[in-house]
């Protein structure tokens, strides 16, 4: 060892480790809360295929490339793929989950404002991956 004192390095490493513990604990806690699906969330089946999204609501209505949901309700997406891997993404609501053939992945969200948002594919899926897009319409509840 060289003859100098090492205590600043130990303090520095301790600070870095403490920082990482804090990041890890915060992330763990946030993810635990985010993954908790609320009771009574309506299920929407999402199917990815080259190169469009189809949606099936609980009442059997189907949509292609467009998804209509009501503000204030919770929805649970059941995502799968018919051919290759895709990734279902509504960036504005941080909804992101891979669509993988042979699996059903789930993710939930509850839209808070009326408006339209982009739906896109975030996993490379071939020729028209760049245009595998759709639109989410968040609407007032129909009474």
């Amino acid at each position: 060892m060289s003859g100098h004192s090492n205590w600043p390095e130990w303090i520095y490493i301790a600070v870095v480790i403490a920082l990482m513990c804090w990041v890890g604990a915060e992330a763990w806690n946030a993810e635990r809360l985010v993954e908790h699906v609320p009771e009574g969330a309506e299920i929407i089946k999402v199917t990815g295929q080259q190169w469009f999204w189809t949606f099936e609501h609980e009442d059997g209505t189907k949509e292609i490339g467009e998804l209509h949901v009501e503000v204030g309700k919770a929805y649970k997406f059941e995502i799968h793929s018919k051919d290759v891997n895709h990734s279902f993404n509504i960036h504005d609501y941080v909804v992101l989950m891979d669509a993988i053939p042979g699996r059903i992945n789930t993710v939930w969200f509850a839209p808070t404002d009326v408006g339209t948002h982009d739906i896109q594919c975030r996993e490379y899926c071939g020729l028209i991956h760049y245009n595998m897009r759709g639109t989410l319409y968040v609407e007032e509840p129909s009474t």
């Binding site: 490493i13 915060e26 975030r122």
Partner: protein
């Protein structure tokens, strides 16, 4: 160090030589050729994305092929062979041995790379550098995909052979008077990265074979239509390629460990913590692979385990940064070109690491995953850290290889332009990712923020492109016509060098 170009020899003497500096020179020239080829593809990509709509490439398939070959080239045909080049030059000298442990194996490992590279380039596959099934099985057009698989197979074997050679050279051929605790940090970086290669690569080699037989239709390991699981491939792939990140970055850090004390005119702050951090990185590098797969439907527990494994790598990387700063502290620093590249590389290494912490935190990853954030993040590593360290080291070894000095002003301009360009391209891409732009897209909708960010990134890329042309001119001109270098102290930093530079291994 052996001066190569001051005493010209016929090209075939170098090509058929097994001497470590000759093989090193071959590695060096080939890796730089691929740097420029892969970099040209990057410029095409950035030009295409300058505006929404098709710009210079007619169709999405060509674009997909270009970014696939761009990534494959720069990782396997630039960064890895460049590290081998430096290792070939320096490791035998640092451990005071006459050559690599197995000179013929060394030459074979080099000569496997051109055919591997040719397969990748002639095939021009389109399934991204990670060839994820089922796309790569059922959808990717052959024979390009099969050529890529065979090319990668050959390159993988080559890096395993190279790694065996480095491990044996360092552990078994070092001078008997030299304990392993006296081997310079650059050689230590090759020891640790070679050990990672030996543990990590076989997994990917197996996955490649399984992918090939799946493509041929005789197996269904990863094909859900035949009962396979595409996620299994992702595990096998990332088990190799997350540690591979450390394979790429550790030699670059080793190169910085060589440059920084020399130009700070001080010994390294803590040799032991450098070794400790290398070994720690090599070990914890294996505990984080599935952080690339948070969004593939992993359970909360799995994600937590891999998040902890990823965050564990941060203190080790932070130790390197501390070591560099503490070495420069109170040093009489001379900012010659190599030092500028090394210091710039450290700054970008820190930024890349900070972005990596955000990726590793589970909830944040669902915002950044597969977006341009990730592109910006890993490019800060491969370009900002690894290429910066490597190019800095290239300037540093230039007088020892050629016996001549490069043009210092052009070297500095090259650095300043590249640094500005790198910040413009890759910091902007982080922001672009937060705006939600997916990666690997040929075209994008005309969202104003996306257009602005893409244009800044494209301008940055062109700045890097111009600086690289300067670099090429500087290297070619100076190696033939540059002023003769004083090989005892080419950078005029004075003082005692920390290992025997006068070592000249005779050709055999």
């Amino acid at each position: 160090m052996v001066v190569e170009l001051a005493k010209p020899r016929p090209i075939w003497q170098i090509m058929f030589s097994t001497h470590h500096t000759d093989v090193g020179l071959l590695y060096l020239i080939m890796s730089l050729a691929f740097l420029f080829m892969g970099g040209a593809l990057a410029l095409i990509i950035r030009a295409e994305l300058f505006l929404p709509g098709a710009q210079i490439i007619g169709d999405a398939m060509t674009f997909n092929r270009i970014f696939t070959v761009h990534g494959t080239t720069l990782i396997f045909l630039f960064i890895l062979p460049f590290a081998s080049a430096v290792g070939n030059y320096y490791v035998p000298i640092m451990v005071r041995y006459k050559d690599m442990a197995y000179p013929k194996l060394n030459a074979i490992a080099f000569w496997m790379i051109p055919p591997g590279g040719a397969l990748v380039w002639l095939g021009f596959a389109d399934f991204t550098w990670y060839a994820t099934p089922p796309y790569s099985i059922i959808s990717a057009p052959g024979p390009a995909a099969d050529m890529w698989i065979f090319g990668l197979k050959i390159l993988g074997i080559s890096s395993v052979l190279g790694a065996i050679n480095f491990v044996v050279t360092i552990l078994k051929c070092k001078h008997p008077d030299m304990s392993i605790g006296q081997v310079p940090l650059l050689a230590w970086s090759y020891l640790t990265s070679s050990l990672i290669i030996l543990v990590a690569i076989p997994t990917f080699a197996a996955a490649l074979l399984m992918l090939l037989t799946d493509r041929l239709g005789v197996s269904g390991f990863f094909n859900p239509a035949m009962g396979g699981d595409p996620i299994a491939y992702q595990h096998l792939f990332w088990f190799t390629f997350h540690p591979e990140v450390y394979v790429l970055v550790i030699p670059a850090i080793g190169m910085m460990y060589e440059i920084i004390p020399r130009f700070s005119r001080k010994p390294i702050y803590s040799y032991n913590s450098g070794i400790f951090a290398f070994v720690l990185l090599a070990i914890v590098g294996f505990s984080s692979w599935a952080h690339h797969m948070y969004a593939s439907g992993m359970s909360f527990t799995e994600k937590t385990v891999f998040m902890v494994g990823t965050l564990a790598a941060v203190p080790a990387s932070a130790m390197h940064v501390y070591n560099f700063i503490a070495t420069m502290w109170n040093g009489r620093i001379k900012f010659s070109t190599p030092m500028m590249w090394a210091v710039g590389g450290i700054a970008l290494f820190f930024s890349a690491g900070a972005g990596g912490v955000a990726n590793a935190a589970m909830p944040l990853d669902f915002s950044t995953h597969d977006s341009y954030w990730v592109v910006g993040h890993f490019h800060l590593f491969v370009m900002g850290t690894i290429a910066f360290g490597s190019i800095g080291f290239l300037y540093y070894m230039f007088p020892y290889v050629t016996g001549r000095m490069y043009n210092e002003t052009m070297g500095k301009v090259h650095f300043v332009m590249s640094f500005i360009g790198t910040v413009l391209v890759f910091f902007t891409q982080h922001i672009l990712g937060l705006y939600g732009m997916p990666r690997r897209v040929f075209d994008y909708p005309p969202i104003p923020e996306w257009i602005a960010m893409n244009q800044i990134a494209s301008v940055g890329a062109m700045i890097i492109g111009v600086s690289m042309v300067l670099f090429l001119i500087n290297m070619i001109y100076s190696s033939g016509k540059g002023k003769l270098a004083d090989t005892d102290d080419p950078f005029g930093v004075g003082g005692k060098y920390y290992y025997p530079f006068e070592a000249k291994n005779p050709h055999h």
